[in-house]
Structure formats: C-alpha cells, structure tokens
C-alpha cells in the first residue's frame, strides 16, 4: 500500500489531489496514518506505533485501519502495488 507521491497533508489536515482537483480533510489520526504510509511503513508497523501511543486495542484498530485504507483507495489516493 503506497500513498501517491503527489499527495501531502497540510498542518491543518487538508489534502489536495492534483490529479483530480479534489480536496479532503482528515482528522489527526488520519493524517498520522498517511504520514506513516509516506514513510513506507507496513500495516504491522503502523499498528504497533498506534497501539503503543493511543488507548486502543489491536482488533479495533485493525478494523478502523482497513476501513480507512478502503476510503483512501476509493478516493484514488493510493497506488496499488
């Protein structure tokens, strides 16, 4: 799973997709995950980071993560490997 190179998250959580001209907002957790993805972290690594830092269990995070990645892909923000 890779975020498109042209995509960046601003400090206020705004995302602009230059390919489609669409704009999005993300919440801080959404921004954090995009930034991890840009660093090429795997799902496993991301989950470990998040679970260490936040009050959430593995299975809840996994479900939310998959849901989120589904949306990113829906919005054409990821490149399929």
């Amino acid at each position: 799973m890779k975020i498109k190179k042209s995509i960046a998250v601003s400090a206020s959580g705004l995302i602009f997709n230059p390919d489609t001209g669409e704009s999005f907002t993300v919440n801080p957790m959404g921004a954090e995950i995009i930034n991890y993805l840009k660093e090429d972290k795997s799902q496993q690594e991301i989950a470990t980071h998040v679970i260490e830092k936040y009050n959430v269990d593995t299975s809840s995070f996994e479900k939310d993560y998959e849901d989120y990645i589904g949306l990113l892909s829906n919005y054409s923000l990821v490149e399929n490997d």
């Binding site: 993300v26 919440n27 009050n55």
Partner: protein, 452 residues
C-alpha cells in the same frame, strides 16, 4: 505513561456545493446529562435502551402553554390526551397540574378512573366506545363526545334503560384550509351533518348537550386553522342559542399543536419552523372573544393538547452496536434502538446527539436499528461525531406516542424512568421479563413435547 485518547481515522471529501443537503446543523454538542443526572450513570444502572422522562420539563412546558391561553381568554381547561402517553406517573403529573383526562377507549377510560380522575372530568372521544363503555360513562356523568349516529342511538337506548340523562357533545369535522380534512371522525360542518346531529340530540330529550368538539389534525403548522375551527364551532353554538335558547358550556378544540421535532424532509429544523403557543392562543381567543357570546357567559375553552406538551420531556438513550460500510462505501451505524421503540421515526428526523465529548470531526451516517428488518431505519442521513461500538447517544423529543405505540418485537421492552423535580430517578415502568411475556401464552397439551 498514560496513553492518548484514540479517535478512529477519517477522511472526508470537501464538497463544493453548499449547503449540505442533509441540513446544515451538525449535532456535535454532546448531551451528557439530563436534568443534572449523567446519561452514563442512567445506562449503567437501568440498561440500554432506556426511556427517560423529565418531570421538570413536563411541568414547565405545561405552565408555559397554559399561561399563553389564560393570559388571553378567561376560561381555559386542559384535558390530558391519554393516548399520547398513558404511563400512570405521567398522567398524574398532568392531573396534579389541573388537567382533566381525555380518553379514546375503554382501556384508557379505566386507566383514568383508576388514577383517581372523577368521571365528570373525563372526556370520552373516539369511534369505538362499546355499549359497556358508554354504560360506565353515563353512570359516571362523563363527557361523551359522540362520533357517529350508531353511537347516538346506543346512548338514547342506554339513557332510557338507566333512567339517566347523559352529558354529551359531538365531534365536528370541517374544512379549516388544511388538507386532507380529517373527515372520518365525527359529523361534517359544511354539509350540514353536524347541525342535523345537534337537532337529533336536542329532540331526543335524553341528553344534556354540554359542548362542541373538534380535533382538526396533528402537528398543525397553521394557527389560522384553529381560528377557523373556533369560528365554525361558535357558529353552531350560536345556532343552538337562537333555535333552542340553549347554551353549550364548552368549546373543545382538541389537540394538534406541533412539537419542536423536525418533520422528515423538512429543510429547516422544527425548532425554527413551528409557530409559538402564543400564536395559536391568539387566533383561538380572538375567534371566541369576537363572537356574539354574552360576555358573562363565555364558553369554557377545552384543549386536548398531546404531543406539544410532552415531546420535549422524553429522551431515548441508546448504545452503538457497530459501524459498517454499505456496498457503496457509505458509513452506517447500527444501534440498539429499533423503530419498534421509536415509532415516531417514521415521520420525524429525530435529533440525535452523542452522550460523550468528541473532537470536531464528523461524518455522515445512516442509523439502523437492530431489528433484522430492512425498514428499521432511525435516521437516513445524519452528521455525527465518530461514534464507536459501545458509545452512547441520546435521541431527543420522544415523549409523545412512542411509549404508547411501541411494539414488543424480538426483544423485551426496556425500562422507563422519570427524573423527578430534584434529581431523584424513579423507575415508572419496569422492563418486560420473559416471565411476564410468557405468562400470557398457553401451549395445548399435544404441543408440549417433541423429539428432535
């Protein structure tokens, strides 16, 4: 090290078209307390789902509505519409405030008597009064509002048999400029049915014609329709005065004022669109005061207001079961409250707010109940904070009709609690139990055993 509060990741596309078609208001202000009692504690102690009624709101709303009328007209009497919410504790709050009882069935009639309402202060409406019901109502001197001629003839027979006069009114239906006309109840004004019925009553010699009644609809947004109704009933009253020198004692304009709920599909919330009680009171009192009643003999104005008096005092607390995505990727939320507990979700977009603090991030979701039926939709589109499994929420303005029209379906019905004038919480209806439910069933002998 203490961990940070987790919020699930979300991304939202910024729409260019404004405003959002699901209404511009986002319910992100949490409702954490009801009359000072934490919602969390209520659910922990009494379970989820849970109906909660605020005694404070009932009494303050009643006082406000009553004042709107008594400031404008000298003789006003409310009669609590039992069908709107007939929990005994609720009815008794209204009776303590001075309301009579308005009932539409033998069951409701018996409830009012059992609550201690004097028969003389019970208004008996509706098309289905059995001979036995009418017998009781005549013996108790109750106010019988005749719906059709079959009922009229039954009363004539009973009055003869009992050697007692009965106190009656007729229900009148009419064109008030709001359509469709509810013309299935009572006698029509425009085509002369109502006047015919009044003549029959006067000619019978068996009844005291004490009042005239109408109930022109429910959730009426037009105060002027009440002005029309008051003038048409007044016209009949003055006709009786001219022809028989007979004074009716009261004009009963029924219920029908809107509560502040939002009708489905309405663009603006009900809190912005419903006329005030003062607007209704002004129309009605002007119509009565401007009529040619002798000033020392004005009729009593009776109101059978239901939903507008109690909707705001009722809350339904629930819990999120799961978040999902539909086949098209739309967020959906499953909760433990089904339409069997929230009958009014068929016509209202009920306000729903979370019961705990959230960040400012929100999403559009569809709220589904737990009933395993496709029609079980509580809100088709609502913008809410990011609710998770186990989060609690509050549905507002559910005091009217839900607690009398609810259905037992696949689960037992929950408790109802009343928060009293302090912040003491009283259970006013227990949750149903398997034992209570099964006590009504009987299994024939040959069906008691089977081998699988």
């Amino acid at each position: 090290m203490e961990k940070l509060r987790y919020e699930r990741p979300v991304i939202k596309r910024l729409e260019t078209e404004m405003p959002n078609k699901f209404g511009s208001r986002i319910e992100r202000t949490p409702k954490t307390h009801i009359d000072g009692v934490p919602v969390q504690d209520l659910i922990a102690k009494y379970g989820s789902p849970l109906f909660v009624i605020s005694e404070k709101t009932i009494r303050s709303t009643y006082k406000k509505v009553k004042k709107a009328f008594t400031m404008r007209y000298p003789k006003v009497q409310f009669a609590w519409s039992y069908k709107t919410n007939y929990l005994d504790a609720v009815c008794n709050i209204y009776h303590q405030e001075g309301s009579w009882a308005e009932v539409v069935s033998g069951f409701e009639y018996d409830k009012a008597i059992k609550n201690g309402v004097s028969g003389k202060k019970i208004i008996f409406n509706g098309p289905d009064k059995t001979t036995e019901d009418l017998h009781k109502a005549i013996v108790n001197d109750s106010l019988i509002h005749i719906d059709h001629l079959d009922e009229f003839y039954t009363i004539v027979e009973l009055s003869e048999k009992l050697g007692r006069r009965s106190r009656v009114a007729i229900r009148v239906n009419m064109d008030t400029g709001v359509y469709p006309i509810w013309d299935r109840f009572g006698f029509n004004y425009e085509n002369g049915q109502a006047w015919d019925a009044l003549n029959k009553i006067m000619a019978s010699g068996k009844m005291d014609l004490v009042g005239l009644h109408c109930h022109i609809g429910t959730y009426m947004l037009s105060p002027s329709a009440y002005g029309v109704a008051a003038r048409k009933l007044t016209d009949l009253a003055l006709g009786l005065k001219r022809r028989y020198n007979h004074d009716v004692k009261y004009i009963d304009l029924g219920g029908g004022f809107p509560s502040r709920n939002t009708l489905k599909g309405a663009y603006l919330p009900g809190t912005d669109t419903t006329p005030s009680f003062e607007d209704f009171a002004e129309e009605i009192s002007s119509a009565l005061l401007n009529a040619e009643y002798p000033t020392d003999n004005l009729p009593l104005l009776i109101l059978e207001t239901g939903r507008a008096l109690i909707d705001e005092a009722g809350y339904l607390l629930g819990t999120v079961i799961s978040n999902k995505r539909s086949s098209t990727g739309k967020r959906t939320t499953i909760v433990d409250i089904g339409i069997n507990l929230l009958f009014t979700s068929f016509w209202y977009d009920h306000k729903i707010t979370p019961a705990q603090e959230f960040s400012q991030y929100t999403e559009e979701t569809t709220i589904y109940g737990p009933l395993c039926m496709n029609i079980d939709v509580i809100r088709e589109n609502v913008v809410l904070p990011l609710l998770n499994k186990g989060d609690q929420f509050v549905i507002h303005h559910v005091g009217a009709y839900n607690m009398s029209q609810w259905m037992q379906f696949i689960n037992l019905r929950p408790k109802i609690v009343l928060i009293g004038m302090g912040d003491k919480v009283h259970v006013i209806r227990e949750n149903e139990t398997m034992e209570v439910f099964n006590s009504l069933e009987k299994i024939p002998e040959h069906l008691k055993r089977f081998d699988l």
